[in-house]
């Protein structure tokens, strides 16, 4: 127990520090694929955040509640991070149904992210939030559906259930695929970054944030990505926990998260942005067959 809590605390600190570095690595990879030089180091996203923190606090007109909401968002991100599994079930959840807990926390994060943007009253942000909400209707539904089916397939509402899986199952693999796509979309990557679409909405949801608020929001954004990719990494690593043990599970978890981050980054570089009317329809075409397949396979026990 002590070992596991220590590993969680260390991993938590690593992820908090690592998320902006991963963004820096992504920027370097992106630059390489663009035939550019890119930022000077992989720590550029950290330098950006630190620079933003050194700036004065400018509040959007009429949006005095925005910094409070961004603060709340940041806190919620940290809470979610500390309560998620790290390649092994997290003992800090005290035996709560932590799959459902994580689902609720992720959806709360998405909602708070939108609400903090809406507080500014900026028309670009408003359109951005409506777009995120429109996309979220489809994406978060299938994120929830995937996690609920996960509990049915594993027979437990806790991530600990995954560690007890003895044989590989096709239904589980399809759920994993569906959740990986849902996490990709929820992390606001091209083609699904329509809420922040820079050319038409000038960063949309982020438009009114500047200085420390923007710094905090950006760090929260990177951590949110780490949480989402961490969820997928957990689904890969948790079934191996009985074999790997806590230390190697944490290492495997972190490695899987980093690899996923980089794969997702490369996918987003080779694609272009979608549109609010095209994106949900396109997603439905992917999610529906997957959902039908994993529900049938889950029912017949394959």
């Amino acid at each position: 127990m002590l070992l596991q809590v220590s590993l969680i605390v260390i991993s938590f600190i690593i992820i908090v520090l690592l998320a902006p570095v991963l963004d820096g690595i992504e920027r370097k990879i992106k630059a390489k694929l663009h035939s550019r030089v890119g930022p000077p180091t992989i720590f550029q996203s950290w330098y950006d955040i630190l620079k933003l923190f050194s700036k004065e606090l400018v509040l959007p007109e009429g949006g005095y509640i925005a910094p409070i909401l961004v603060g709340l968002l940041y806190t919620l991100v940290l809470v979610t991070l500390i309560l998620m599994p790290y390649g092994f079930p997290n003992p800090l959840t005290l035996g709560l149904p932590d799959i459902i807990l994580l689902l609720v926390l992720i959806i709360a994060l998405q909602l708070l992210w939108s609400t903090s943007a809406l507080a500014s009253g900026n028309p670009y942000a408003t359109v951005g939030v409506f777009r995120e909400a429109g996309l979220g209707l489809v994406n978060e539904f299938f994120l929830a559906l995937g996690l609920i089916f996960l509990t049915l397939v594993t027979g437990s509402q806790e991530f600990a259930g995954l560690t007890r899986m003895t044989t590989p199952r096709l239904a589980y693999a399809l759920i994993l695929l569906s959740l990986a796509i849902a996490c990709y979309v929820a992390s606001g990557r091209i083609p699904y970054d329509i809420g922040e679409a820079e050319p038409e909405l000038a960063s949309g949801v982020l438009i009114e944030f500047s200085g420390p608020i923007l710094g905090l929001a950006l760090h929260a954004h990177y951590l949110k990505r780490a949480i989402l990719y961490g969820l997928v990494a957990n689904l890969i690593v948790l079934p191996l926990y009985p074999v790997l043990g806590p230390v190697f599970s944490v290492i495997a978890f972190l490695a899987a998260m980093i690899v996923l981050w980089i794969i997702f980054a490369i996918i987003s570089i080779v694609l272009a942005r979608s549109r609010i009317d095209l994106a949900p329809r396109g997603l439905l075409k992917i999610y529906l067959p997957l959902a039908i397949a994993y529900s049938i396979l889950g029912y017949i026990g394959v």
């Binding site: 028309p123 679409a197 050319p199 038409e200 000038a202 080779v270 979608s274 549109r275 095209l278």
Partner: protein, 558 residues
């Protein structure tokens, strides 16, 4: 050498047809080489004349130039230049107005693209256009009433104190796109009125960076200085403007330009087109969120700037053009390097196009969006890739051949879909055609001088010239004066294409708006060339699309 003249039998046929259709309305119908068929009519007959030319002869409106000719003829005049692109003939309807209180009837209900020209005539010359709503268009709201900067009795360096503008507020939800916006690389302002994500209304507020270039050319610069000023009209298609100006003067003064200089001009014009189209492809990719395409298009574009530097000494704003020829020659070594470079550009761009057109979102978001049907394209007299993507086979290089284009063979890509994808494909095809044209021109480059020896420019002559800019036809009208042009009218392609955006943007999703605006490859600095004033506009008027359409239906444009 003046531009290629239309065939005389064609001119004669049109002249006779006009004589029959206009009856005794026309005071004079005369062909002037280097300009076109001049049709002089009384000002009250302008509408009947335009109906004949625009509707019956199927000519499109190219430019309208109001002129303060009080110093020469004691009147204000107006030149309506229509084009019969199938035979390469300009029909210039000329009319004179009272020097004290100049006014003329609107033709904007007959030819909608006349809308802006009429507003500009009113704003800058004080020519009242009757039977339509007139409002401050080019000049800022705080410019004093009754002060018309293009009149000859107004000094070019006048700086009137701003008059207080009334306060007015706009209500209702709107999405401002500009004056500063990531999708626009120059200050310009589109107000998109939205219902949800659907654009229901568009308001364009342009002319933020007026520089008084026409006025400067008419009052401060000399003939041979103006090409350098003209080149600064635009940072991307500047050479087009300088060639267009020099050709207009050469046409007016019948100056024979050496053939080698014409070839060099054409080569540089095509290098400029390569640069401009590659830049645009990059911008379009960026607007679609496909930054990989953006960066690679600009990587290829970089080579075209190196090419320009090799040939002219400058990466952009080449400054090699003069009336009578060019200032910089092309030698054998350069030709080899150019051929190698364009081969590289061709290969790299071909690969890039394959990649771009295989990205699903690029195809989905460009096809079927920002549609401009052919009949609307014709009505708005749009030009360049916008016209060609809507099924109009309109290219000045073929229709009104100039410089060395008569010596090369090339295809004019025409698509009928009229959507953003069609405009993208037109430009992609044109890049390959430009490379093809450069190869042919270099192959046939004649020897000889690059500058005419005797350059004399008589007063009071009119010259019209057009050049196919990357964005469409650029047209300059020059009336010669003493030491400098008496009147120099510049009409950039964007001026003709922006009004058609009303059609393209209406009922489209908001997400497509920046791409659709960019799909005409707008060049605002070309369009905004009229006068310099610090803008502090507070009062604004909303002209809704619905109102516009409604008023059009009633035979009256705003």
């Amino acid at each position: 050498m003046v531009d290629v003249e239309p065939r005389l039998e064609d001119v004669e046929k049109i002249r006779k047809e006009l004589e029959v259709k206009l009856g005794n309305i026309a005071r004079r119908i005369e062909y002037v080489s280097g300009a076109g068929l001049i049709v002089e009519v009384p000002k009250d007959s302008i509408r009947d004349t335009v109906k004949v030319v625009h509707d019956e002869l199927d000519a499109y409106l190219r430019v309208i130039a109001g002129v303060d000719e009080r110093l020469i003829k004691g009147v204000f005049s107006s030149y309506y230049v229509f084009g019969l692109d199938n035979i390469g003939l300009n029909i210039i309807i000329t009319t004179y107005m009272d020097p004290e209180n100049p006014s003329i009837y609107t033709i904007a209900d007959i030819a909608p693209s006349a809308d802006w020209y009429e507003l500009e005539m009113y704003d800058l010359l004080g020519i009242r256009v009757k039977n339509r709503q007139l409002y401050r268009f080019v000049l800022p709201e705080d410019w004093p009433e009754g002060l018309y900067p293009l009149r000859k009795d107004v000094a070019h360096n006048i700086r009137p104190p701003p008059t207080p503008a009334g306060k007015g507020a706009i209500t209702g939800p709107r999405i401002p796109v500009g004056p500063y916006h990531p999708a626009l690389h120059e200050p310009e302002y589109f107000e998109l009125y939205v219902e949800g994500e659907r654009v229901v209304d568009v308001r364009y507020n342009g002319f933020h960076v007026h520089r008084g270039i026409e006025k400067l050319g008419e009052s401060r610069f000399t003939y041979q200085q103006v090409p350098f000023l003209a080149e600064r009209i635009c940072g991307i298609c500047g050479f087009v403007h300088s060639v267009c100006y020099t050709q207009a003067v050469e046409n007016a003064a019948k100056i024979e330009v050496p053939e080698r200089a014409e070839f060099i001009r054409s080569i540089i014009l095509e290098v400029e087109r390569l640069h401009s189209h590659l830049l645009w492809v990059g911008v379009a990719c960026h607007l679609l969120g496909y930054d990989a395409g953006f960066m690679h298009a600009w990587r290829i574009r970089e080579k075209t700037m190196v090419l320009a530097e090799l040939l002219t000494g400058s990466r952009k704003t080449y400054g090699i053009n003069l009336i009578g020829g060019v200032r910089k020659d092309i030698n054998r070594d350069k030709i080899d390097t150019v051929l190698k470079t364009i081969k590289w550009v061709e290969d790299e761009f071909r690969k890039l196009v394959e990649v771009i057109t295989s990205v699903p979102q690029v195809v989905k978001r460009t096809s079927g969006t920002g549609i401009l049907p052919k009949h609307e394209a014709r009505r708005y007299s749009v030009v360049g890739p916008v016209a060609r993507a809507s099924g109009l086979n309109r290219d000045v290089r073929k229709d009104y051949p100039y410089a060395a284009y008569k010596h090369v063979s090339f295809k004019v890509p025409v698509y009928t879909e009229g959507d953003n994808l069609a405009r993208l494909l037109v430009r992609v095809d044109e890049i390959f055609e430009s490379i093809n044209i450069i190869r042919q021109l270099l192959d046939q480059l004649p020897s000889g001088p690059i500058m005419a020896e005797d350059i004399e420019i008589p007063k009071g002559k009119i010259g019209v010239s057009s050049v196919e800019a990357p964005r469409g036809e650029d047209i300059h009208l020059v009336i010669t004066g003493k030491g400098r042009p008496y009147r120099w009218r510049v009409r950039a392609p964007t001026y003709q294409n922006i009004p058609a955006l009303k059609v393209m943007l209406k009922d489209a999703p908001l997400a497509d708006a920046p791409l659709t605006i960019a799909s005409i490859d707008p060049c605002f600095s070309c369009t905004d060339r009229v006068i310099v004033v610090d803008v502090s506009t507070r009062k604004r008027k909303i002209i809704s699309l619905r109102k516009l359409v409604k008023l059009e239906g009633n035979g009256c444009m705003i």
